[in-house]
């Protein structure tokens, strides 16, 4: 179902990479007249260039009411959902404030906006939780078996709960929930890309999680389509195919360092408390259980197939060759060196054999 694109779009979370890219892309679409970015923080300098055609309102979600209703917004794209606490902006408390309370306020404002036609909310495949009894592949209808222990996953469950409530109260608004697999690209920087960029990558001993990634460009395309077209419902967004964690580490040419899960949790907590790196329980759960989703519904409804997990990861690897040690080229070189060595030894043995036979 394709209807006319909305003329005024409000995008939240434009100070972050994804929000800025989406806003810029919507602003570049001639069918959309106004794009308003809503964010309590100023975007960093490298994103400012993107936001030329975007009107920015520097305020938190409490200002959403005036932005959405006052501007007569026809579509709201809610991207102010952070997966990792940001130490600069207040840590986990601020993250929860932004994710849960922020979503509540945005949805409350959207509920009161009479002209609203579309709501797009960024969610994550973390909504499926992590359990040993999970099916191998999640469809959109799979319910999490237990409340996950990761803070981000719990936030996601809350957010999706609010969207369900919103759908009930405003059934005429097309609400799209996009559950994204971890995003990856040559330039995007997330805690996961930082993780894979290390020379030695800690993994969980005895576990080899199945992972899926989605390329940032594909995520943008899906977000753009869900604003300009009409696709109500919940969709998994991920690249087809699966990489296991060990396989991904090997493809990236890194060295895996398997640690027992408890050691990994403790180490991550230590790093978190020292403020060095933010590896949360969400990520450890992901590395223990893995997460694979079914994207049939997305492909059927959007008519768009994101590039595969392997392709997306390959692009990431090519941009992060620095720090890799066990690359495919070096392995191939080692292989041919060994084969050459075998051949040389054999030739030498033949020569000596011929020499000893002659006299």
């Amino acid at each position: 179902m394709v209807t006319s694109p909305p003329s005024v779009v409000v995008v939240t979370g434009v100070s972050r990479y994804l929000g800025a890219r989406v806003a810029a892309r919507l602003a570049a679409d001639p069918r959309i007249e106004r794009v308003v970015g809503l964010d309590p923080h100023d975007p960093p300098a490298r994103l400012l260039g993107l936001l030329d055609g975007v009107e920015r309102i520097r305020a938190d979600a409490r200002a959403a009411t005036e932005a959405i209703a006052g501007l007569g917004a026809e579509a709201v794209v809610h991207l102010a959902v952070t997966s990792v606490p940001d130490a600069e902006h207040g840590g986990r408390a601020a993250m929860k404030e932004q994710n849960v309370i922020g979503t509540m306020q945005v949805l409350a404002a959207a509920q009161g906006a009479p002209g609203l036609r579309k709501l797009v909310v960024r969610s994550s495949t973390a909504a499926y939780g992590a359990s040993f009894r999970d099916p191998a592949v999640f469809t959109e209808d799979t319910e999490p078996r237990a409340v996950p222990r990761g803070p981000f996953a719990r936030d996601i469950l809350d957010i999706e709960g609010y969207v369900r409530g919103f759908r009930r109260r405003r059934p005429e608004v097309a609400a799209t929930v996009l559950r994204f697999a971890p995003m990856i690209s040559s330039s995007a920087e997330t805690s996961l890309t930082r993780y894979f960029a290390q020379p030695v990558v800690p993994t969980v001993l005895g576990r080899d999680a199945r992972m899926q990634f989605v390329h940032v460009e594909d995520a943008l395309e899906v977000l753009h389509r869900s604003v300009t077209e009409e696709h109500p419902g919940t969709f998994n967004v991920a690249g087809a195919g699966v990489l296991t964690l060990s396989q991904a580490v090997r493809r990236a040419g890194r060295i895996a360092l398997p640690l027992p899960e408890s050691a990994l949790s403790t180490g991550a907590a230590l790093l978190r408390n020292l403020g060095v790196e933010q590896i949360g329980l969400d990520q450890i759960d992901l590395f223990v259980h893995g997460r694979v989703v079914d994207t049939t519904r997305l492909i059927r409804e959007f008519g768009f197939t994101p590039r595969g997990t392997e392709t997306a990861f390959q692009e990431f690897i090519e941009a992060h060759v620095a720090g890799s040690s066990l690359t495919a080229d070096r392995l191939a070189a080692a292989e041919s060196a060994i084969l050459d060595g075998v051949r040389r030894v054999r030739a030498a043995a033949e020569a000596s054999l011929a020499g000893s036979d002659r006299p």
């Binding site: 040993f132 191998a136 199945r210 090997r250 893995g290 292989e335 084969l339 054999r346 054999l353």
Partner: protein, 441 residues
């Protein structure tokens, strides 16, 4: 309407038939007499009157080892006529499936690694007579005629052996490189076909062929393509029967199909084991996974008895336990996948459970803690399975495509589960009759 009439009306019940019992067999003592035409192997019975009968008792049995038996006898006849140098070596060589490779590769590795590079045929020929001892070992396995024929044969064999070893080394290195570089494919369930074929199956094959001497019947009942649900009886303390079933299907099925097992969540809770299971193609036993596998045309293996089956006492052997809630049937019905019942005989004797230490099991979080004649007493040695004789029979598939709308009808599901259960139980009895001695050859 009487209860019987009502029962007959139910779909899935009308077609139900108990498998016909096999025709009565003439037996010699406790061993069945083969009904093979006498012309084919009189020599076998003359030469060794007792041994081959055990190998090939009746019709389908013959498919297991007839080639080796015939090979042995023909070779024996040929050699005993002229050179009775060593009948033991001949039979020994003939027993092994690939008798030539082992001796030849030693010779080749020792002294002619260069021959392949040189490719000097005229030079290699004259050298041959120098090594008569090694020749006879290498050649006598198939030496039917003169010495010169054996010479030229074994010369080719050596050349081949060098090539074979070259190829093996190259293949091994390429495999290692692919593994280290991560350039293999894993499906969405974590199944790693390359690793399974290259590592798991060869290891299991040793158990399957040499330790358990498994015989497989009715593999043609397993569909060649498309989905299928293989339902078996479960026994043997640890789920070795599932692994042997996987190997049997991969080795004996013409399409070399992979069986995708559905495992208990305990398997996927344990670090290490969970990933081995996933890489070997298993997944958690739940309906979404089973249906997804079947709709994508995979062969799914399930053991509805679960822990009740593998944890039962030795005195309960070959008595099927309760079949759970029949979830496997509803999964098959929903996808219209044929159900192939399979009976596995032999797994009950590998670790006979004499007692179950329940408190210890509860302490360790296990479903049972077995006490076998060997297990806690001999420590790790007790983990070696007893070498019982295994037989696996695949029964004719039960089509379910016409019952798709009854997937949520508990009565139909229960009836069908019962039918599968009865079929397996009847086939178990039939196989047990074929195998009078659990540790027979």
């Amino acid at each position: 309407m009487s209860q019987d009439e009502f029962h007959d009306m139910l779909p899935g019940h009308a077609e139900f038939q108990l498998p016909t019992p096999p025709p009565p067999q003439r037996v010699n003592g406790r061993r069945p007499i083969p009904e093979k035409p006498a012309a084919e192997k009189p020599a076998a019975e003359e030469a060794t009157p007792e041994k081959p009968t055990a190998d090939a008792p009746a019709g389908e049995h013959a498919e297991e080892r007839p080639t080796t038996a015939e090979h042995a006898t023909s070779a024996e006849h040929a050699t005993s006529a002229e050179a009775a140098e060593s009948t033991e070596t001949v039979t020994l060589a003939a027993e092994k499936p690939a008798p030539r490779v082992a001796p030849v590769k030693k010779v080749a590795a020792k002294r002619i690694p260069a021959k392949k590079a040189a490719r000097a045929r005229p030079e290699t020929r004259p050298e041959q007579p120098e090594k008569p001892g090694s020749e006879s070992a290498a050649g006598s396995g198939r030496a039917a005629g003169s010495q010169s024929a054996a010479d030229s044969e074994s010369a080719d064999g050596r050349e081949d052996a060098v090539d074979v070893w070259d190829r093996r080394v190259a293949d091994g290195l390429a495999f290692l490189r692919r593994r280290l570089a991560g350039t293999y494919r894993v499906d969405e369930f974590g199944f790693d076909a390359e690793l399974t074929d290259a590592v798991f199956h060869p290891m299991l094959r040793v158990l399957y062929r040499d330790w358990f001497r498994t015989e497989v019947f009715g593999v043609e009942n397993v569909p060649s393509e498309g989905g299928g649900l293989v339902v078996g009886n479960h026994s043997g303390t640890i789920a070795l029967d599932a692994l042997m079933l996987t190997t049997a299907l991969h080795d004996r099925h013409p399409q070399r199909r992979h069986l995708r097992l559905l495992g208990a969540d305990l398997v996927f809770r344990v670090p290490g084991m969970s990933e081995l299971a996933r890489a070997a193609g298993a997944t958690v036993a739940c309906n979404p996974d089973a249906e997804r596998l079947m709709t994508s045309g995979e062969l799914v293996g399930v053991f509805p008895e679960g822990f009740k089956g593998i944890g039962k006492k030795f005195s309960e052997r070959y008595k099927l336990q309760r079949f759970g809630r029949g979830g496997f049937v509803s999964a098959a019905l929903r996808t219209g996948t044929p159900i192939v019942p399979v009976a596995i005989v032999g797994a009950e004797e590998i670790y006979p459970i004499l007692a179950d230490l329940k408190p210890l099991a509860r302490l360790l979080g296990l479903p049972y803690f077995p006490v076998t004649p060997t297990f806690p007493w001999l420590g790790p040695l007790g983990m070696i399975p007893l070498p019982s004789k295994w037989m696996i029979r695949f029964c004719p598939p039960i089509p379910t495509a016409h019952l798709t709308e009854y997937a949520d009808d508990p009565l139909v599901v229960y009836n069908l589960a019962d039918q599968v259960r009865e079929t397996i139980q009847a086939t178990l009895h039939e196989l047990l009759q074929k195998r009078p001695d659990p540790f027979a050859r």
